[in-house]
Amino acid sequence: MSRRGLLLLLGTTVALLCLLSLMAGRTGLAAPALLFDADPETQQLARLIFLELRLPRMLLGLLVGASLGLCGAVLQGLTRNPLAEPGLLGVSSGAALGAVIAIYSGAGAALPLAVPVAGLAGALVASLLTLALGSGGGLLVLVLAGAAVSALMVTGTALALNLAPNPYAVWEISQWLLGSLTDRSWQQLLLALPFMLAGLALLATCGRGLNALSLGELTAASLGVDIRRLRWQALAGTALAIGAATAVTGAIGFIGLLAPHLVRATSGHEPARVLLPSALMGAALLLAADIATRLMPFAQELKLGVLTGLIGAPFFILLVLRMKREAP
């Protein structure tokens, strides 16, 4: 399959999944035609369910999935490390920590904008920490640094929730560590949207620089690429997109790892050519996982991270095995 064919296939899949996401609910109310039902009572109920619940949820799935996919592709290109992604580098858990502090301290209730901004700050701090710890040490040191920072951020999140004045906070720990799109509203989406769009734009324009970088730092510099600027652009894009997304959904793992690898064989290995397919793949994966959480016949709704982990973790193991085989 050509890259063009892949893009077409992914685009169609994402569109179909968006439609399916609108139809999927725990209550079985499926047909959007009910929006135009003759009975005003049914029509009002359908309007609330489709427009106020399922539509923001679908858009959130689309945007957060695309952010994770794109960010994974950029970070893998930037660090030239196949294991780089916002989850493994601690960025997502840093964002969750920021959002948790903002929400449970009451800052978010006083000033709603504080939540995405705190998410962004958490993501930025975590990524700076990981890069500072892991730079110059090779592929595995970066991943180790990510694991360490991630552990620190997850612990911080658990601590913040334990100390929160609301005792229910501890119940909500799984939402922050595993992610969820349940019962999100337009307000939450619209607050995060500008940050996510700005982040996506910054990440999407990293392509040319990443291509040059794949030839080595010296070659890239000789091609006129400002590597410092490229790093900061990728970092800011990551903090904006992942920080704001995670502040609404909690940390969602593995999509940033999976998406670029799944498309690379078809789209070619040039980093710039991976970006768009990876964003689409990320969106498709997250939408599909979120639809599955609603349709699985379990008493409690599964958290998103459980499903992405079920697919992602074995894939992670495969990647490790492959690296082991290729390493001397």
């Binding site: 609910g25 725990r26 209550t27 109310l29 009572e41 009002q44 109920l45 609330l48 369910i49 106020e52 619940l53 399922r54 929400i103 449970y104 301290s105 009451g106 978010g108 209730a109 929160a164 004045p165 609301n166 005792p167 229910y168 906070a169 119940w171 909500e172 939402q175 922050w176 349940t182 019962d183 999100r184 509203s185 337009w186 307000q187 939450q188 016949p297 379990f298 008493a299 409690q300 709704e301």
Partner: protein, 286 residues
């Protein structure tokens, strides 16, 4: 391993024996002087039955939320966190524990010979009468106990005419599945006395979300007020715009401490709820 466990328990037992310090063990000889509660529901009964100076301490939860009268008393009382160490330090004459009291604490007290009574949670009016009498008898406040029960029964009699004639369909929703009171709860008992019917007691879908709440179409939503002003993620779902839009003026708040713990003043809260349900009806629900 068994040997080690034996030594461990021996050590603990002697520790408690030392702490008990040869004091006369209060029992049937007379009403105990100072009583300590290790359970939030028993806190309420003690504060209703005894003057504050006879209460060694209540749980910290009683300061968080509940009936305003009792909250005010709890603010002035020492609080505990249900641990054995606190019992030893406070040296009460009687400990009132509940089924949910830390198991270790309960076992250790039993071994150390500190008098303790255990009260099971109650879910209905008859249960409230029973445990009120039980505790009143043990702490020597029988008259006060009967007063409380008489007031409760008067409230219940008044409710017969105060509740809406046609039951109001109600659902408790705090923003997450675990915040939906189902069948066999004190919430249901209060609600039914007040002229409501809990839609979540007959239909129990697999988990709740806002969409599910909308589809179950109760006339009134009830949200626990326990932690108002202490934000959590679930607040966004409890007051989701879709619900605020459809349930404007039909979301009532209730004190979870009162609806979760059976004590006689629950009847007063049932009358308040009946009043609120009548008002919602009068305002015209669909």
């Amino acid at each position: 391993m068994p040997a080690r466990r034996y030594i461990h328990s021996l050590l603990l037992t002697s520790l408690f024996a030392l702490a008990a310090g040869g004091r006369a063990v209060a029992g049937d000889a007379g009403p105990p002087l100072r009583v300590m509660s290790l359970n939030v529901c028993n806190d309420q009964l003690l504060m209703l039955l005894l003057p504050p100076e006879r209460i060694t301490s209540v749980t910290w939860l009683s300061r968080v939320e509940g009936d305003p009268d009792l909250l005010a008393i709890a603010q002035r009382l020492p609080v505990n966190h249900g641990s054995a160490e606190e019992v030893l330090a406070a040296r009460p004459d009687l400990v009132v524990a509940g089924r949910f009291t830390t198991g270790t604490t309960r076992r250790l007290l039993r071994r150390a010979g500190i008098p303790m009574m255990e009260i099971d949670p109650v879910m209905d009016w008859e249960g409230i009468r029973r445990v009120t009498r039980e505790v009143a008898h043990r702490v020597g406040a029988v008259e006060r106990g009967e007063e409380l029960i008489a007031a409760m029964d008067a409230d219940l009699a008044a409710l017969a005419t105060e509740r809406p004639a046609v039951p109001v369909r109600v659902m408790g929703w705090g923003g997450a599945s675990e915040d939906v009171p189902a069948a066999d709860t004190l919430f249901n008992t209060l609600l039914e006395a007040a002229g409501g019917v809990n839609v979540a007691s007959s239909v129990q879908p697999r988990g709740y979300d806002v969409e599910q709440v909308l589809r179950m179409a109760p006339e009134v939503l009830m949200r626990g007020s326990a932690y108002t002003g202490r934000p959590a993620l679930r607040d966004a779902a409890a007051l989701h715009p879709a619900l605020r839009q459809r349930y404007a003026g039909r979301i009532l708040t209730y004190p979870e401490g009162v609806y979760g713990c059976g004590s006689p003043p629950a009847s007063r809260w049932a009358r308040r709820l009946a009043q609120a349900l009548r008002e919602v009806r009068a305002a015209g629900s669909p």
